[in-house]
């Protein structure tokens, strides 16, 4: 069993796989250690059925009960088949009343591919301003910021949009994304980065109409689903009996929160890692060890010298890499670094030194300011034959819009096509706020029975349409990831402890954006049932866009990573999942994480780091 590599990467999702792809193809030996299983699509190996199914009970499985000694002990929990079990490895957050609760929120997925297995695949770029929010706001007047904290805490990324743009192009091509450039407020240097979008689901016409009435330029939402044969990954669109490609088979409703059994959704396994494994030029230079939990690192003189992990039997093992890349999602990456510090005092000393006002590791944890509006369209449409979104607009990221509302940053807005498109998903998410409260409303509304059930179906099934916004959250030092003082996982390791709230300006921004979403629906002829945002959720929702905590920057006293995502006090330790972000961007983050990883890979190769 090989124990020495040029690169050891922890995590096989959006942050880790692009680096593996580039470095292995550059002739370096690369190992990925992934905690979760290697669930494979159909015919991998040939003839085998898929490990992912079009089965609603895969997205949200049977009920379990929480046994961990926290405030919501005894409550029902439901999770996807590739999310962790909260009784084995919970995330704990502190609710405003001061009690600790366990939650499934904040986990992406534990499987090869990470969050890209379950995501809805919306793959938007950030805007130029998203990466320069300190500079952008210097001379602007902001509302709901009485103490000037927003301007004080805003940070520019140490790279600008033009630095990242070539890697956006690379990611869009190599990952396999369909979409439309025209209508976006982001510059593209190459015209051919997207595959052709599929025809939109008819229900989305109401969102598009609403955007048009409001004067919002819209475009087809970029989605990481291939619609044409994808040469770089070797994926082919299924053919019918006549040999004609049938890209429409990707429209199933089993997209968001489902792994794709046909490999059409562009997760990092089918798009990047499997091609590596099949590349004879790469050969043994690439290894993927699934079902292996990294427990900690040790270091010598500022260099991580050993990566310690447990193999599938739970047997401790070690490997070493000239370069070590941590990319196991923002919360778990911070946790792994903090746990390493518990094992090795010298590691902790290096990890935490250099920052003003105490260690910055785990601080400035971010999610998205997120919300939207939902309602019922006139008529019914088969939403089960759809991808996750059809139309998006950057209107609410335009400087004029931000000036009008006194906002520090903008948001992407897009319609959700496939939500509640299948019967059980409609029942379990009926009026639910998040993954912790599913089923609550349906089971309690006992009038939904018999004729009442039929009426409820007629009022909701295949009629719902929602529009969401995704906006920057104000960075706050008090929003942070720590190790929980008491709760441990099934390996006896302290679990992640999430402390997070919202700034007053976040609330203002989310109110403005939610109103815009409501307006889009109303102007599009939709009977709006409600609008709101996560800032109204008293339980400090964490959501699945988990970012920050190891932000990069140019000043070692104000950041945990240098501009190339290397930990300041280590010579060979890089962090490339969403934790590197100093601000969370006004769009879904996965594409930006992938683009940045391609950028870091380029640095490692072209600057002779390894």
């Amino acid at each position: 069993m090989r124990t020495e590599f040029d690169i050891v990467i922890i995590g096989s999702g959006a942050g880790g796989s692009p680096i593996a792809y580039e470095l292995a193809r550059a002739g370096k030996s690369v190992l990925i250690l992934e905690k979760g299983p290697l669930f494979r699509p159909q015919d991998d190996p040939p003839g085998a059925p898929s490990d992912y199914k079009r089965d609603e009970l895969f997205a949200t499985g049977p009920e379990k009960r929480l046994t961990i000694d926290v405030g919501n002990r005894g409550s029902s929990i439901f999770s996807s088949h590739i999310e962790p079990d909260l009784n084995d490895e919970p995330h704990i957050y502190r609710e405003p009343g001061g009690n600790d609760y366990a939650t499934i929120e904040g986990y992406t997925a534990q499987a090869v591919g990470g969050g890209t297995q379950l995501y809805g695949a919306v793959s938007l770029r950030f805007t130029e301003a998203d990466l320069q929010l300190k500079s952008f706001n210097e001379s602007r007047t902001l509302k709901a910021d009485p103490n000037g904290e927003v301007k004080r805490e805003a940070r520019d990324w140490p790279i600008n949009y033009s630095d990242l743009e070539p890697f956006y192009c690379k990611a869009e091509k190599l990952v396999g994304i369909n979409g439309q450039q025209a209508g976006q407020e982001k510059p593209f240097s190459q015209f051919d980065t997207y595959q052709k979008p599929l025809a939109p689901n008819p229900v989305s016409q109401f969102a598009a109409a609403g955007m048009e009435v409001k004067g919002m330029k819209s475009y087809r939402t970029p989605l990481a689903v291939i619609t044409e044969d994808h040469a770089s990954s070797g994926r082919r669109i299924p053919r019918d009996a006549d040999g004609t490609a049938t890209p429409e088979v990707a429209k199933t409703g089993f997209v968001n929160r489902y792994g794709c059994p046909l490999g059409l959704k562009s997760n990092t396994y089918v798009a990047l890692l499997r091609p590596l494994m099949n590349d004879t030029d790469v050969g043994d230079n690439f290894e993927l060890r699934a079902n292996c939990v990294v427990t900690h690192f040790t270091q010598q003189n500022g260099k991580v010298d050993r990566v310690h992990y447990l193999d599938p039997s739970g047997t401790p093992r070690e490997v070493s890499g000239k370069i070590v890349v941590v990319a196991c999602s923002a919360i778990e990456s911070v946790r792994l670094l903090l746990l390493s510090g518990e094992h090795d005092a010298s590691f902790a000393e290096r990890l935490h030194q250099g920052s003003i006002g105490g260690s910055i590791v785990g601080k400035y944890f971010l999610t998205h300011a997120f919300g939207g509006a939902e309602g019922n369209v006139p008529g019914v449409f088969d939403k089960s034959l759809s991808l996750d979104s059809d139309y998006a607009t950057d209107f609410c990221a335009l400087p004029e819009f931000l000036d009008e509302h006194g906002l520090w940053a903008g948001a992407a807005i897009y319609n959700n096509t496939s939500d509640q498109a299948l019967p059980i998903s409609m029942g379990r998410t009926h009026r639910s706020q998040d993954l912790d409260t599913i089923w609550n409303s349906f089971v309690n509304e006992s009038d939904i029975r018999g004729d009442g059930f039929l009426n409820w179906l007629h009022g909701n099934f295949q009629r719902g349409l929602s529009v969401s916004f995704m906006a920057n959250q104000v960075p706050m030092r008090s929003n942070r990831i720590e190790l929980h003082p008491r709760v441990t996982d099934k390996w006896g390791r302290r679990v992640a402890y999430i402390l997070k709230g919202w700034h007053e300006h976040d609330q203002h921004l989310m109110n403005v954006m939610a109103e815009q979403c409501r307006d889009i629906l109303e102007k599009g002829g939709v009977a709006v049932e409600g609008h709101g945002h996560v800032g109204n959720d008293a339980r400090a929702r964490i959501a699945n866009h988990i970012l920050g905590g190891m932000r990069f920057g140019t000043d070692p006293s104000d950041s945990a990573l240098n501009p190339n995502c290397r930990a300041w006090q280590f010579d060979n330790l890089y962090v490339t999942d969403g934790s590197f972000m100093p601000t969370s961007g006004g769009a879904n983050p996965t594409l930006t994480i992938q683009a940045n990883s391609f950028r870091v890979a380029s640095h490692l190769i072209n600057d002779g780091v390894v």
């Binding site: 199914k53 089965d55 609603e56 534990q110 299924p238 447990l310 193999d311 004729d451 099934k490």
Partner: protein, 348 residues
């Protein structure tokens, strides 16, 4: 044949751990003291019942499940592990192989066997010549000869596994009351649908069994989930169905509870839904503190059973989905594997 990677993918997250605390004992009394299953995440997943890859029987793969038996040996003490069961010749043990990781032996023995769908089966492991039940799988039955065997069932199983006929009868009535199938529109649909099925059955073009008196198989689904995924709720159903039988009998002594009048079920449903804990005349709260809590559980199960994939035992012959399709634009067949659906690319 499933490869070693498949076995590790379906074992590690559930079985590997150092903490031996009963993290997965939800406190419902479904695990005895010291039961190894309480330490294991989702012990019900074992043996692993999955879609069938390839069979050598000449019959279509859709008629089989791949069943992967797993025997963990974390102490690495066992030399030989085999499985015997009613899915094959009882006198002919099937040997499990030691699963490798990067060319080195792991803690897991495993073997995959194609087993027909819609069946209930019993098995034991033979470890270095001695018989043991499966320590992971919580499904066990004492057979007529008094011996304890491990049990599993394959997809689309419609034979009762843990609930008795009278329990299923009462459940069907409540599921009827909750679900939309006994409405005028529902009955119109099912009248047509079952005639259609009967014709297909005569023509031999339909698989499996169906019964006109159940709510798209929701009660059968509940039987299966209480045997497996939500075994911790078996106690809720046992206690509450016993209470409901007594209460129905008190109100309608001339009928078997499952044949009591619609009005009785309507009234009891209303009483179960009343207030924060329910208010059912005759309910023994000291035995079960909230009939409403049970109703909520039943509502979730009934809904899921009626509209989930038929492999779980409900939505028999896709009746729930076809009902929805009769009322709404819902071309579910396009996404689903044959023979349930019509997808030519997805095989399930």
């Amino acid at each position: 044949m499933r490869d070693d990677q498949y076995v590790l993918n379906h074992c590690t997250t559930y079985l590997a751990r150092s903490d031996q605390a009963p993290r997965h004992d939800f406190g419902f009394g479904h695990y005895g003291d010291g039961d190894a299953g309480a330490r294991i995440r989702e012990a019900w997943r074992f043996p692993i019942v999955d879609s069938c890859g390839l069979t050598t029987t000449g019959k279509p793969e859709s008629e089989f499940n791949d069943v992967t038996f797993v025997f963990p040996d974390f102490e690495m003490q066992c030399d030989s592990v085999a499985v015997v069961g009613t899915f094959d010749k009882l006198y002919q043990p099937i040997r499990l192989r030691r699963v490798d990781f990067l060319g080195e032996p792991t803690a897991y023995f495993a073997v995959t066997v194609p087993v027909p769908k819609r069946g209930v089966f019993y098995y034991r492991f033979m470890v270095d010549g001695e018989f043991f039940i499966d320590n992971i799988n919580p499904q066990r039955d004492r057979l007529e000869n008094g011996e304890l065997w491990s049990r599993f069932f394959t997809w689309e199983c419609t034979s009762p596994v843990v609930l008795q006929r009278w329990q299923l009868g009462i459940l069907e009535r409540f599921c009827d009351h909750i679900l939309p199938f006994r409405t005028k529109q529902g009955e119109r649909f099912f009248s047509w649908y079952y005639k259609h099925l009967a014709n297909e059955a005569k023509a031999g073009t339909i698989r499996g069994s169906f019964r006109i008196d159940d709510s798209a198989g929701a009660a059968n689904y509940i039987d299966k989930i209480l045997a497996k995924e939500e075994r911790h709720h078996f106690g809720d159903y046992n206690i509450c169905l016993r209470q409901l039988r007594r209460i129905i009998q008190e109100r309608e002594p001339d009928f078997e509870p499952e044949n009591a009048s619609e009005n009785t079920y309507v009234e009891i449903y209303k009483e179960m839904a009343a207030g924060p804990i329910g208010d059912v005349a005759g309910w023994n709260l000291s035995e079960y503190g909230s009939p409403r809590h049970f109703l909520n559980l039943l509502r979730r199960h009934a809904f899921t059973g009626a509209f989930s994939h038929p492999k779980y035992g409900g939505n028999v012959t896709t009746a729930g989905w076809q009902f929805l399709q009769s009322r709404f634009p819902f071309e579910w067949q396009q996404s689903l594997e044959q023979p349930l659906g019509t997808s030519t690319s997805y095989r399930g």
